[in-house]
Amino acid sequence: MTVTRDRMISGTLKFHLFLCVVFIFAPIIGSFVFSLNSDRFPSLPLGSFSTEWYRLIWEDPFVWAGFFNTMIVGFCVAVIATVLGFGGAYTDYRYKFFGKQIYMALALLPPTIPVVILGLAMLAYLSRIGLSGDLYSIIIAHGVMCSPFAMAIIRLRLSQMDPDLEAAAWNLGGNEWVTLRHVVLPFTFPAIIASLFITMAVSFDEFAVAWFVSGLHETLPVKVLGFLQGQVSPRINAIGSLAFVSSISLIVLAQMLLRTPSTRSRSASED
């Protein structure tokens, strides 16, 4: 009696979970389907199969310009955020100092500030010091927003490192720089690559702050926001689907890097 009841409860809960996943993914899958559908305003029954929207964005020079801007910003942000994040993560791992809590708060807080507020603050500040309205404005802003992610990813990897490893390297006569180069960097290498990918993916999808500070140098997400404000067009779905595929590839690669135990770190510790 109670067994069947438990099973029913368990089944209902799992079904609820399933519905949640459907709800979360319906818009994402919908966007895929609509991007390959001939209708401008898709409804049921769906129209015929069409690659028209992909052709339109392929032929749109503004979309290409946005794409290149997104790539440039994404690459620069990935490198900057990962360098900053590595420094922060290592500092947290290695040192105790006065004011460390404030340091950590500064390093990790940006994602909790609403993007409109961050956007306005960055726009006002950057235009005051003459740095707004260009691609580097977006890079600066995304550097702030992405470094916490880089820091978290690399910090997690550092916490798996045997603290004796570094001490051993110092005892063998390596100074801190040499140890960093030959022990710490190889050990955190998978996390560093993962951080590059993930921060790039975050930057690829960020539209709000980029919209505020970019001026005429729009990235693709800002372009999409423009489409959304102007006449509605399924080109959004086509861009979205391509962006989705590229982001997910980056995430899957990052996941694989974080999962596989690094062989490089082992060879480094044997050196």
Partner: protein, 281 residues
């Protein structure tokens, strides 16, 4: 040696600190200063004038937007938490380890999809001649108005918050001591009573933090209120984008932004206090 050590440490620690001070703290601090500046002949001038604050705070539109933002964010938070909890419970208590890992991976995916694209897709689902109404039409129902109203906004906000809240709730439920649950079971505490008297209290901090994140996300979002809610009446976030994009009245936008940050800080401190409060009688 000591000198080298500190040089090494500083080289690693300082870049992040300098970057965040220059491009995170300074802009936010500047926002406060900006709210006291004046605009003359379409030019912003450094000043110490409270007229922006007076101008914004005496407008009824502002208070309506404030109220609407608070109500929407609260409703989205309650809704998201309520929908997320059974799902998180199912993940934490009913799934195998490998299924757990899969579902966590699946729930991370939405963070890397464009929120804008999802909102646009939702427009297609929810509009009067859209997917859902067409489906309802087959059953002779509808059309139901689902776009450009509060329902639309809430659908968008729940879409935005649900994956994060399920994940955070799952993590906090994973830390619930399983012996405690077993003990409650052995003492013939029913399943519902176990959930509300044992599991929820011991996962309280995580559940509240999850709700807090949902509130912060919903309160700050301008996309759902604008593109699924029609933008009228506006929320504070919509007001900021409108004021900023339509001219030089940035000081007034700064007033709205500071009001939002202070409100969020109050909500954050209150909920963290509540989370860590000892359960009194």
């Amino acid at each position: 040696m000591r000198h080298h050590a500190s040089l090494f440490g500083l080289t690693l620690a300082l870049p992040l600190l300098i970057w965040q001070l220059l491009f995170f703290v300074a802009p936010l601090a500047f926002l406060v200063a900006l709210s006291f500046w004046t605009v003359r002949n379409f030019q912003m001038q450094p000043d110490f004038d409270v007229s922006n604050w007076v101008r914004i705070y005496t407008r009824e539109v502002f208070w309506q937007a404030y109220l609407r933002s608070l109500i929407l964010a609260t409703a989205a938070t309650v809704l998201t938490s309520a929908i997320a909890f059974p799902a998180a419970y199912a993940i934490s208590f009913k799934l195998s380890e490998s299924a757990k890992r899969w579902i966590v991976f699946i729930l991370v995916i939405p963070f890397f999809t464009s929120y804008l694209v999802r909102v646009y897709s939702l427009q297609v689902f929810l509009s009067d001649a859209g997917i859902l109404n067409a489906a309802l039409g087959y059953f002779g129902l509808g059309p139901v108005l689902m776009l450009n109203n509060t329902f639309g906004v809430l659908v968008g906000l729940v879409t935005l918050c649900l994956p994060l809240v399920i994940l955070l709730q799952t993590f906090s439920l994973n830390f619930v001591n399983r012996d405690l649950v077993e003990a409650a079971h052995n003492l013939r505490c029913g399943p519902l009573a176990t959930v509300f008297r044992v599991i929820v209290p011991s996962a309280k901090v995580g559940l509240i933090i999850a709700a807090l994140f949902s509130f912060i996300l919903s309160f700050g979002d301008f996309v759902s209120p604008l593109y699924l809610g029609g933008g009228n009446p506006p929320t504070l976030s919509i007001m900021i984008t409108d004021i900023t994009k339509s001219g030089q009245q940035w000081p007034r936008a700064a007033v709205v932004a500071i009001t939002m940050i202070v409100s969020l800080l109050i909500v954050a401190f209150a909920s963290i206090r509540f989370a860590y409060k000892e359960r009194g009688r």
